[in-house]
């Protein structure tokens, strides 16, 4: 401890106020723990400030503009003009409302908020360096700590986010005007969401991807629909090419790529967005002071109680492993706080749903047919194509399907894959079915509202039972 330090004692120290951290802090305080939440810049973390929320705001804005301008078939003739500064302002209002809400919730629940960066001194002490030089330090003594430092965008060699024309996803979301041309490195979910959004706003987007397809984590029939739509929108894909460097030109950048065979290509853009993934933040809190170190993949390992190898220190969210999703972080944060408070909580979720906000959306939960077979089940699958859905047709969005995977013997629902409008919403029902161990009969026997997209879940379950009404049973 440094002379002159202020020492504070707390039951629960939470490092990072993202969806993992602030949730852990609030639950800790609810359970009567004296809780301190340390955040270095913005409540709500990357998700609220630089990720999920701003990107969804822009995606929605882009959709409104794009749909308005492409609805001649419905008799709508419009040519929307985009005022990016205005859209930024609107997005900022949304973000501010949410982040100030998080701050208020924390305070209302009695969480002490500290601004700064936390570093461990030992297993019961952390040093908080307040932002900016000369702002001082303080020492916090804690019973339990939750590491929720999240993740940051990965940089690749030759592309430094400090250089002006090289943008991370966070930087792109701060843009003040719509770029005319953009080179996007990476066709994962972030690259695909942002490419689609910008294309709809009028940017000419070129995507280079080292692998041979978009969205590597998804099944072929799922990503085919999204890739086809992206191509129709005008995105120029180049697969099997890795970005090797860039040079400034008179009116932007020239990005060089190379195939495995050594063929070199160059693509022009106003700027280059590097969206090749995110990496956990483990280098700010002096983990070695408590004897922890990240595993080979860079994550802090935890057990089924969200505990690290140091039993009074928990890790949640992106820093604790894949999938790097906000809702997973929150679920883990709750468990960490409850375990710290002595409650019998555990990380026993059967499935973490995931959504990609492309056009159309993709949402999945639980096991795919192949996963289920690998796990030793005899899977049975039911599907409802959206072209048979009255609601999808009435939205002019009939590409996609809802698929349900169940165990043939017990008929218990194991997972689902959805491609289509609002897939991210529809998946919630399938997630509930998986988590509850509902059977196909349970889902099929639940009356669904007509006309909705969610009906397709019921229909898919019926299809898996071989008794669908609106689709041919396979």
């Amino acid at each position: 401890m440094v002379m002159g330090d202020i020492a504070t004692a707390t039951d629960l120290l939470v490092i990072g106020a993202g969806p993992g951290g602030y949730v852990a802090a609030i639950r800790g305080a609810q359970l009567g723990l004296d809780t301190t939440l340390v955040e270095k810049d913005a409540y709500g973390g990357a998700c609220l400030n630089r990720g999920c929320i701003p990107s969804k705001a822009f995606i929605h804005g882009a959709d409104v503009a794009h749909e308005a301008g492409n609805a001649e078939e419905m008799g709508i003739h419009a040519d929307p003009a985009i005022d990016m500064l205005q859209m930024q302002e609107w997005k900022s209002d949304v973000v501010d409302q949410l982040t100030s809400g998080v701050e208020k919730l924390c305070k209302a629940n009695g969480v002490s908020l500290l601004e700064g960066t936390a570093a461990f001194e030992d297993e019961h002490t952390a040093r908080i360096a307040h932002g900016g030089e000369g702002q001082g330090m303080e020492t916090v003594e804690f019973e339990h700590a939750v590491i929720a430092t999240g993740s940051r965008p990965i940089q690749i060699p030759g592309f430094d986010f400090a250089d002006d024309p090289v943008l991370s996803s966070s930087q792109l979301l701060q843009m003040e005007s719509v770029p005319d041309r953009l080179v996007v490195v990476g066709a994962g979910y972030i690259g695909m969401e942002l490419s689609t959004m910008l294309t709809k706003l009028g940017t000419e987007v070129t995507v280079v991807e080292m692998l041979d397809d978009v969205l590597p984590a998804y099944e072929a029939d799922v990503k085919r629909i999204v890739r086809k739509r992206a191509e129709e929108l005008g995105i120029d894909f180049h697969f099997g090419e890795g970005a090797t460097g860039w040079e400034e030109t008179a009116d932007g950048v020239l990005v060089s790529t190379e195939t495995e065979a050594g063929d070199v290509s160059q693509y022009e853009g106003d700027a280059v967005l590097v969206a090749v993934g995110r990496q956990p933040v483990t280098d700010t809190m002096e983990l070695d002071a408590i004897g922890l170190e990240p595993n080979d993949a860079g994550f802090i390992e935890t057990d089924d109680r969200a505990r690290t190898d140091v039993e009074n220190v928990f890790a949640v969210g992106d820093v604790a492993g894949e999938p790097m999703l906000a809702h997973k972080a929150s679920a883990e944060g709750i468990v960490a706080a409850e375990v710290a408070a002595g409650e019998p909580a555990a990380l026993d979720q059967q499935a973490i749903p995931a959504a990609v906000f492309t056009d159309p959306e993709i949402a999945t939960v639980g096991l795919t047919e192949d996963d289920a077979a690998d796990a030793g089940f005899d899977p049975v699958v039911g599907e409802m194509p959206l072209r048979a859905s009255g609601r999808a047709l009435s939205m002019g969005e009939s590409d996609g399907f809802v698929r349900i995977v169940a165990d043939e013997a017990s008929e218990i629902v194991l997972g689902g894959q959805i491609v289509g409008p609002n897939a991210s919403e529809i998946v919630a029902e399938v997630a509930l079915a998986v988590e509850m161990s509902a059977t196909l009969e349970d889902v099929a026997g639940t009356v669904h509202t007509h006309p909705t997209l969610a009906e397709a879940v019921m229909e898919a379950a019926e299809n898996a039972q071989g008794q669908a009404i609106h689709t041919l049973n396979r």
Partner: protein, 567 residues
């Protein structure tokens, strides 16, 4: 420097629990892998528990004398030992007393930890002993059901589901918690029986004053039920109770029957007992005795008392009911001076088994005697031969041989009654138990397939089993699976006995000493070597006449042992 918990390992087939007889280590001790850290007594055998780790012991989770279920955490180790931390903890929170209640110990550990920053000691506080595991595969249960399992300390992966597709319901979890999968910290049946018996005791004392003297003396079910009702009059009466594992442990520690504790809360519509409820009930217990007493006196008729307890048929209650004599006799023992020896371990196991046998199987005894002249001659002759091969041949192998031969002709004496199935099981093997007196008490190692073994082999095997039983080196499975038991009362002295059947066998044979006694041969009284023996049979399976016929056949084979050659 990693904390590792250690669960009581499998102690043998069908053994769900053991008594922690002694700790050979204390918290803070450094141990090596395979070093014996504890002795656990199960079903008559003493099992040594080796350390699974190199490291130091940070916590012992049970006191000596506690009954510990298999798979319950018994010790916490710090692996790749941190000497300093271990010593620190040793000096602060490791006395055997503190360990009795997990809650307290956890708090201790946490306190210590706050002071001694830098030691990961409150790992123990976090890793509560009843922490139920999260299965790695898919679990078919809803989140609320899984939460209930964690609350009750149940491994959800071990619960069989009754719902559609095998889905686990809350009721399945609760049933599991009550049944085979006893959650960590819960006092198992034996303890509960003791608690009920103690409660019954209190009531019986006062009942005896009024009308029930005769009934208690008879030890009839009715009397027992009446006593049970005495408890019911003042306390709650459930056949299962929701409570946290720590609460169950507390109840066990305080000698309180959880099912009798009035619940202050409800969970999912079922009574939920809190630690405070248990403490309050335990505190009432001492003066509550008089309250209970008047309660019984108030319940004037037996009918009334009975109707209050009709549905009570759990195993716990039954075992209490099976020892009615104790309740009556123990009535005024509470204040009696004298040395007090804990009733536990082998002594209690024997007691419980004998009581179960005697109160389950109606015993009928049969005694007889035969001229053992030829047996003595043959034994002397063969023993001399066997001795040259280093085998000590006693009379016992001859008796075993005669018995297995006779059993083949009288299958109902080599049988068991499966009451739940309503069937008599005629065993297809002849596994003969040999009662052995040891310092710790009676043990009955079993000679498996005795009918297939020759005299020499029987002699060797019996000697080996008996020796290991005396050294307490015998394995639990070597004392299981018997179909008939022989006890040799002749070794110590006496002529006849009324042996208690080794339940659920059908019969037991007690051989007396062979010695010269007056014997009538051709109307002349002459001195002859004779053997007297006694038998008890379960009259549910075997009538006296069959017992006598069996006995005659054994007698015949032993009186003319050369006949054994024919068999």
């Amino acid at each position: 420097m990693v904390e590792r918990t250690f669960e009581l390992p499998d102690l043998g087939e069908g053994i769900a629990e053991g008594e922690l007889v002694s700790w050979l280590v204390a918290a803070g001790d450094t141990v090596e892998e395979d070093q014996v850290i504890a002795e656990v007594e199960t079903d008559k055998a003493l099992v040594e528990i080796p350390s699974p780790y190199d490291g130091s012991v940070t916590r012992l989770h049970h006191d000596e004398g506690e009954i510990v279920p298999v798979d319950a955490v018994i010790a916490t180790f710090e692996v790749e030992g941190d000497e300093e931390a271990a010593t620190e903890r040793d000096s602060s929170s490791s006395s055997a007393d503190a360990e009795g209640s997990p809650g307290e110990t956890a708090a201790d550990a946490a306190d210590t930890d706050a002071a001694a920053a830098g030691t990961p000691a409150d790992a123990a506080a976090d890793a509560s002993p009843g922490e139920s595991p999260v299965p790695s595969g898919r679990v078919f249960a809803s989140p609320s059901t899984r939460a209930l399992a964690r609350e009750l300390g149940v491994d959800i992966g071990a619960v069989e589901g009754s719902g559609p597709g095998g889905r686990v319901a809350g009721a399945d979890v609760r049933a599991h918690a009550q049944g085979a999968g006893t959650p960590a910290g819960e006092e198992p049946a034996a303890g509960a029986a003791t608690a009920s018996a103690a409660a019954a005791e209190t009531a019986a004392t006062t009942t005896a004053d009024s009308e029930a003297v005769a009934a208690v003396g008879n030890g009839t079910a009715e009397a027992v039920e009446q006593r049970e009702s005495g408890v019911g009059a003042a306390a709650a009466e459930r056949d299962r109770t929701l409570a946290m594992p720590a609460t169950r442990q507390l109840a066990a520690d305080l000698g309180v029957d959880l099912n009798a504790v009035p619940a202050s809360e409800e969970r999912e519509g079922e009574p939920f007992v809190t630690p405070d409820d248990v403490r309050a009930f335990a505190a009432e217990g001492s003066d509550g005795a008089s309250g209970v007493a008047s309660g019984v006196a108030g319940a004037t008729t037996t009918e009334e008392a009975k109707s209050a307890t009709e549905p009570v048929t759990t195993a716990d209650e039954r075992s209490a009911a099976e020892t009615p004599g104790e309740g009556a006799a123990a009535g005024d023992l509470a204040d009696r001076p004298g040395e007090r020896v804990p009733y536990r371990g082998v002594r209690r196991t024997i007691g419980e088994q004998m009581a179960e046998s005697k109160y389950t199987a109606p015993h009928v005894s049969h005694h007889d005697e035969f001229d053992a002249t030829e047996l003595v001659e043959l034994q002397e002759e063969l023993a001399a031969v066997a001795e040259t091969e280093g085998v000590k041949l006693t009379y016992l192998p001859f008796v075993v041989k005669a018995i297995t031969t006779a059993l083949a002709e009288f299958p109902y004496l080599n049988a068991s009654l499966d009451e739940s199935a309503g069937e008599i099981v005629l065993h297809d093997e002849y596994n003969v138990g040999i009662a052995v007196a040891t310092d710790a008490g009676l043990m009955v190692p079993v000679v498996k397939n005795a009918d297939e073994k020759g005299l020499k082999q029987l002699a060797e095997e019996i000697r080996d089993l008996a020796e290991r039983a005396r050294n307490r080196q015998i394995k639990p499975e070597e004392m299981q699976g018997g179909t008939f038991t022989i006890t040799n009362i002749g070794v110590i002295g006496g002529e006849f006995s009324s042996p208690i059947i080794n339940h659920p066998e059908a019969a037991i044979f007690a051989m007396g000493p062979i010695k010269k006694r007056p014997w009538v041969v051709d109307d002349e009284v002459v001195a002859r070597n004779t053997m007297r023996f006694s038998m008890s049979v379960d009259h549910r399976l075997v009538d006296g006449a069959d017992a006598a016929r069996f006995s005659n056949r054994v007698k015949e084979l032993l009186a003319e042992p050369s006949r054994l050659l024919l068999e």
